[in-house]
């Protein structure tokens, strides 16, 4: 049987139009344990080819799991038929895609082979042990969970204008949960980490035992924590919370497809949108941070990923682009075209989004805060085209006269992202990518990471009103 890249090239040679063929084989495995019982242990194998064509300024797409030359040719024809049909309706035709240096050769992120060689049974045993440690940490813990996922991704992207890139990476994540109960009151906590690489990469910062311990302790501590009063206040956001803010509230508004639809970032390039202390980037690889959760060397359009500075010293500097939007804005593509499966078309997605570190220590920032809260342990969040965001946080600690005092139960923080970033008056040296497990959703999932330093700003906490 012919190598797949040759099959793809042969198929595309039959296209009179610009075309892209993307082979994707994904092998995923996952295990979840609750209260000592394996809830699921499973393996999934998905493979196929997606073909995208550009005909008379309109996109057509089709996919198949059948890798025979006949099936691939049929898929190409279907994609062309779809594009032809749409071109009659399309008002604003897609411009010729920008000439750019497209990826050729092999792109492999270390850790794939090591993770593959480690038996699934060994991973399952580690998950069982972690759940048990969490559950037995305190008599107040009534239930614990541990979930492990891994994805092995093999891709080949070939385009009629020169891309021919084979990439290989493995992503894995582990998530622990604990429920504590006392006198009719319940509290829940989560601890998670997600990486691109081997099993050991997951535990480069905290061991699995340490993660179990902190998940259990947080659930128990939250039991006695009161609910927080609501209102606008000073917040010090942890790297994980800064990551959420960077990704959800700023990152999405600067994805060029959202910009073209009228997001709040439209028309703001070159204007001051944040405090001069804020420099924000989105990058396939992060200098000094190996194996980040969103690490990517080449995107699904065959473009080599690059570091894109979204905000430079508070000034909006760049949007995030795929090849189509780069043509519209007449800039270089930034390597943000990503697809979840072979049967999905590439969309503009983030990779690792972060604020760059500053020059103060966290200790100095806390000491110089008269009154406010330290907000940590995100529970997810969403943001709007307006930049309005909502993030949940499990752990909120009061700061009074420069000292951390009382802990409160999880709360929601909200604000308008650019307004909040304009209030930033302190940025720490400590830096971490810390989005943990989970995926970004935009019609398709995408594995991303995000983080930054500790950042002091003004925002609203949604708590109880008396």
């Amino acid at each position: 049987m012919k190598p797949i890249s040759e099959l793809l090239q042969e198929t595309l040679s039959k296209s009179p139009y610009w075309a892209e063929a993307r082979y994707h084989r994904r092998n995923s495995q996952s295990v979840s344990v609750q209260k000592g019982l394996v809830k699921q242990a499973k393996s999934n194998l998905t493979s196929g080819v997606g073909i995208r064509v550009l005909v008379d300024g309109a996109w057509g797409f089709s996919s198949t799991s059948d890798l025979t030359p006949q099936a691939l040719e049929k898929t190409l024809k279907l994609a062309i038929d779809c594009a032809r049909s749409l071109s009659q309706l399309k008002k604003s035709k897609v411009k010729k895609l920008p000439a750019t240096k497209l990826a050729t050769g092999e792109f492999k992120i270390p850790g794939y082979d090591l993770l593959k060689q480690m038996p699934f049974e060994q991973k399952l045993q580690a998950v069982l042990k972690a759940e048990e440690l969490t559950r037995k940490n305190s008599t107040l813990i009534t239930s614990a969970t541990c979930l492990y996922n891994e994805l092995f991704e093999d891709k080949i992207v070939v385009t009629t204008d020169g891309a021919n890139a084979a990439s290989q990476l493995a992503r894995n994540e582990i998530k622990l949960g604990a429920i504590a109960y006392k006198d009719g009151d319940m509290a829940e906590s989560h601890e998670s980490v997600g990486k691109t690489g081997s099993w050991d990469c997951l535990f480069s910062r905290n061991s699995l035992n340490q993660m179990s311990d902190s998940a259990a302790k947080l659930a128990v501590d939250l039991l006695s924590a009161p609910k927080i009063p609501g209102g606008s206040t000073t917040l010090i956001l942890s790297p994980a919370m800064v990551g959420l803010l960077s990704h959800e509230a700023i990152g999405h508004t600067v994805e060029a497809d959202f910009v073209l639809s009228g997001s709040v970032a439209q028309g703001k390039l070159g204007t001051q949108v944040a405090s001069p202390l804020v420099t924000m980037c989105d990058s396939g690889t992060v200098p000094g941070v190996a194996h980040s959760g969103g690490e990517l060397l080449v995107d699904d359009e065959g473009v080599i990923t690059q570091k894109t500075t979204i905000i430079k010293n508070g000034v909006l500097n760049s949007y995030l682009h795929n090849r189509e939007s780069a043509a519209i804005f007449e800039v270089e593509p930034t390597g943000n075209g990503r697809a979840w499966l072979y049967s999905d078309e590439p969309l503009i997605r983030m990779r690792n989004t972060y604020i760059e570190p500053g020059n103060q220590t966290l200790e100095e920032i806390i000491a110089s805060t008269q009154e406010g809260y330290l907000v940590d342990c995100p529970l997810g969040g969403q943001a709007d085209a307006t930049g309005e965001f909502m993030f949940g946080a499990q752990k909120v600690t009061k700061i009074e006269n420069g000292k951390l005092t009382k802990m409160y139960r999880g709360a929601t923080i909200s604000g308008q992202a650019f307004e909040v970033l304009s209030t930033v008056d302190a940025v720490s040296k400590e830096f971490l990518l810390d989005l943990g497990s989970g995926y970004c959703g935009k019609g398709q999932p995408a594995k991303v990471d995000a983080g930054g330093p500790y950042v002091r700003c003004q925002a609203t906490i949604g708590g109880v009103q008396e």
């Binding site: 609750q34 019982l37 394996v38 699921q40 242990a41 499973k42 393996s43 999934n44 194998l45 998905t46 493979s47 196929g48 309109a58 057509g60 797409f61 089709s62 996919s63 799991s65 994609a79 038929d81 779809c82 749409l86 309706l89 399309k90 008002k91 699934f120 049974e121 399952l124 239930s143 429920i179 319940m186 509290a187 829940e188 609501g230 209102g231 606008s232 497809d257 639809s261 009228g262 049967s343 709007d384 085209a385 307006t386 309005e388 909502m390 949940g392 139960r409 999880g410 929601t412 909200s414 604000g415 308008q416 019609g443 609203t460 906490i461 949604g462 708590g463 109880v464 009103q465 008396e466």
Partner: protein, 463 residues
């Protein structure tokens, strides 16, 4: 289903049969195969324009095996016998090293009741031309772009047809075919420097003849809702009465409440209620909540579940009294009961538990009367439509941003608020703090339905 995808049906049945046989030959005591075939054509919209047309079809098959009380599962997207053999072996391997769990089970199933929906196929949808699909998309675009203040960010019009199959080594064999038209839009209102929140809707139709009108009406309603949000202002902070419209009731309250009816939460004692609470009053006596899988115009319609058990309509809460939990075979075994047909999932996932279509019954006051009541008690109050936030099903606490919420004062809507947070507790909201339930019900996104609720003691934090 006689002529509907005859070849695909045969191919799926053959592959599923082979997979079941490979699983038993590889060492399983019992095995279950879940399979599916799907064909879809989609026209996508983006940036106020047509973006992409696509066409895909494919198979997926998953096998669950039991070796004693050990379980394994593997799946693939191929009907190739070599790949099917590989996943059968993999599932058995996983079962081989997984610890025992006495509640794993693969069971025989009853026949599907005659009252259940037996035909979810409209040949006119299956045979729909790409030209007709383009015409439907044009209808949606025309409606969405009438008002220049609406910015269309994303949208789709999709026609999907599929077959679901469930067989097991105890003789269960269930098959169901389905055709569905679905459409969705996401966008915002923009006028000068005012930008509304993103808003989103999706609808389905199983009848080709009804689809064009439904597309136009649902798009018009959606655009009106988005545009009215351009009149913005600030909310005050208070604790008191808030009106929850049907979407808010479902998103904030019912979605978290349903966790406590999940048989697995009951079996693991992580839910609020247990078997001892059946026939006990658990919430306000005006509340009745049913799960109905037989509503053919809803997305959650199906005649059998992920384990082949026939579905049936049932009451979860009746007049505030707990009547039943939602069970799959796993939770049923753990609780020494029978499955209620609530195993959820597809060929690439193990069975979990989920409701089908939740319907909260209407009350005895008009919606207008609820507004009057709120106004008599408080000079101003918030009306919540959508929500972006956290809901902790375990504690019942919720906290998040009220999106596109209305600020009412002196008997009239003043404006729509941004950056307004609400928080409360669902058990209190549906218990002691429930003030009123409207007579009017609304179906949201062609799926669940709810009346409007007036609830007290909700914390509102204005930005």
């Amino acid at each position: 289903m006689s002529q509907f995808f005859k070849n695909e049906k045969e191919k799926l049945e053959t592959a599923a049969g082979k997979l079941l046989s490979y699983a038993i030959k590889s060492g399983a005591d019992k095995a279950e195969v879940c399979g599916g075939y799907g064909l879809k054509t989609k026209i996508s919209l983006e940036k106020q324009d047509y973006q992409l047309a696509s066409s895909d079809d494919g198979y997926s098959l998953g096998v669950r095996v039991l070796k004693g009380h050990r379980q394994g599962f593997a799946s693939c997207n191929s009907t190739d016998p070599a790949e099917l053999k590989e996943i059968a072996i993999k599932a058995n391997e996983i079962a081989g090293f997984s610890p025992e769990n006495p509640h794993y089970s693969i069971q025989q199933a009853e026949n599907i009741p005659v009252e259940a929906p037996h035909n979810l196929v409209d040949p006119a949808l299956t045979d729909l031309s790409l030209q007709s699909q383009k015409d439907w998309t044009r209808l949606m675009v025309a409606e969405a772009t009438k008002d220049k203040r609406f910015r269309l960010n994303e949208g789709t019009v999709e026609i999907g047809s599929g077959i679901s199959l469930l067989i097991n080594s105890l003789g269960v064999r269930q098959m169901e075919a389905d055709t569905i038209a679905s459409w969705s839009l996401m966008g915002m209102g923009v006028e000068g420097n005012t930008i509304t929140s993103f808003d989103y809707f999706s609808e389905i139709s199983r009848k080709a003849s009804a689809t064009p009108d439904k597309i136009v009406l649902s798009t018009r309603k959606f655009i009106d809702e988005v545009i009215r949000n351009l009149t913005t202002g600030k909310s005050e902070s208070y604790k008191g009465l808030v009106i929850f419209t049907p979407r808010a009731v479902l998103d904030i309250l019912i979605s978290s409440l349903s966790y406590h009816f999940n048989g697995r939460a009951v079996a693991e004692n992580t839910g609020r209620w247990g078997l001892k609470d059946r026939d006990q009053k658990i919430l306000d006596s005006r509340l009745t909540l049913r799960d109905n899988p037989w509503l053919t115009d809803r997305a959650g319609c199906s005649s059998f579940d992920r384990e082949g058990t026939p579905t049936r309509p049932m009451a979860l809460i009746e007049n505030g009294v707990l009547k039943s939990f939602c069970l799959d075979h796993y939770s049923a075994h753990a609780l020494k009961l029978s499955s209620t047909g609530h195993a959820a999932g597809g060929p690439s996932s193990l069975p979990s538990v989920s409701t089908h279509t939740l319907c909260l019954s209407s009350g005895n006051e008009s919606k207008a009367a609820l507004f009057t009541k709120a106004q008599q008690e408080q000079k101003s109050f918030l009306v919540v439509h959508r929500y972006s936030g956290q809901s902790d099903p375990v504690t019942g606490d919720f906290s998040g941003v009220a999106k596109g919420a209305e600020w009412w004062a002196n008997g009239e809507r003043k404006y729509y608020v941004q950056e307004t947070l609400i928080s409360g507790n669902l058990f209190e909201a549906l218990g002691k703090d429930l003030v009123g339930i409207s007579q009017e019900n609304e179906v949201i996104d062609s799926d669940e339905e709810s009346p409007t609720l007036l609830i007290n003691n909700i914390s509102v934090t204005g930005g």
